[in-house]
Symmetry: D2
Subunit: 161 residues, 4 copies
């Protein structure tokens, strides 16, 4: 069994560009490529659960994420998720109290120059290994309690709620 | 007077990302940044004429581009343009017969890793300096006659018409 | 007073390229640019202490780093350092027992495509905020005890000693 | 037979990074990857002739390049070359008068953010297709006569000699 489970749900982090007409679509999980190229010194497995913009994640989707995390043998779980409803999903997951769960994502697509994706994944990778059981949001260089954070859409960043 | 005039009209080359809700928008002309960082050994001036996805360029917009090019003192003009209607605009410009006019753009935004923007601008920069008067499309590493090229939207490339 | 102090000492993370003759040189600290562009939600100050390849860091340099860290008012300190002698410097710093000190760096220059710099800084930023007092090395996605880690030069990665 | 022959000789364009101790080395030809990712609309073949920093290119190396170009069935040849002695090699090749030969390279390695490699290759690709027989240097956005150009090492750019 791998030490760490990673669940991907889509979101901006995985967006890739098509063309003038079709806009951006959500592609394969970028976290696999990112961790692959840095030779990380731990084992992990990636579950590509869904490919959704976070505005389209429904209550049923959140139940599916919840049940998936519960069923995992690992007690350390990293979830990549769109930023617009990441906090909402994190709160739903707080019913799980015996695993360390860290949600992260990106304000700009991973394949965009200057994207925050790699930085956020770095923050989340440390957090999921170091923190005790609980649910956390890793964005903008900080580890947040889901009950005390919100996305400020105008400033395009996470801040204390 | 500068040797080369550059007119920017928008298109994918200039797209920048906002967020989950607002999708991509067309930002400041990327060609200014691109030429700036490579220390090109010639003088040029950039006219940011419009910021439009090429699907939204109207007949009036094309007339504006035409009149603008005509009025320029330079006889070498590079135009960045969205790819979906680049060929159409090129054909309208063919009424001008005493200037060398090269249109280019990008199939992926300039700020995207692996974008063709810088390569295409390189091709266009040579072409606009080397070619005799006429209108040309510089895409996919070739210099095309506007009457003999089309964008293959499915393959996302330019090809012989 | 800022919450976090960052000390830069040089190393591959800060290498920039000059030309065929002069090879790579160590430039301005890349961590300032990196944290600047991601809008991190905490305060920090950067001390550019030296610009040395880690193979050229001497015992006196290590004493200077040690005295500088001791004298800082902050009790959380992130140090960027060349990878070849990062572990050695970390062990010297272990004399300090009342601060959380995390060392990181990069196996490839920050300005290189595919560099691990941003990922490592992300890991280190979480670690320095979450860990209790002590000295740690953040490389290859893990937080290491300086007494139990070494750089494997052939494989170009950090591993358990 | 392919339309275009590409000969690679090494130089900064192909430099890849190893580590603190071993500095940069010249890797596989970057032009293959670059042209591959942009879906260029013409056929070409790549001959990886040598992997040398241009300061180490000897008179014998230049004779080898000369004989190789002569022996090619193609009459359009693009050569990637280190910048420090590119002009010297170009002058040696001027003995060939029935082919269009364009030399290009990079002032910064192709794998470096902000490298001029892709831009220069774009310029050279147009030039080698558009120009009559002769030998040319494509650097800094211009097509130069080898007899009238030099590298200004302090300014790190090519300029009129």
């Amino acid at each position: 069994m791998q030490q760490l489970a990673i669940i991907t749900t889509g979101g901006t982090i995985d967006k890739i560009y098509f063309d003038d007409k079709s806009d951006y679509k959500i592609g394969a999980p970028q976290i696999s490529e990112i961790l692959g190229q840095f030779g990380v010194a731990f084992d992990y497995e990636v579950h590509a659960l869904m490919r959704k913009d976070s505005l389209h994640i429904t209550d049923e989707d959140r139940q599916l994420i919840l049940e998936t995390v519960k069923a995992l043998p690992q007690d350390r779980v990293l979830i990549t998720h769109g930023t617009d409803s990441m906090v909402e999903t994190a709160r739903v997951l707080q019913i799980i109290t015996d695993k360390t769960i860290v949600l992260t994502g990106a304000l700009n697509p991973a394949r965009f120059l200057g994207s925050d994706a790699v930085f956020n994944i770095g923050c989340a990778i440390s957090a999921v290994q170091l923190l005790p059981a609980g649910v956390y949001v890793a964005m903008n260089g900080k580890i947040w309690d889901p009950l005390k954070v919100r996305k400020n859409r105008n400033a395009n960043r996470f801040e204390q709620a």
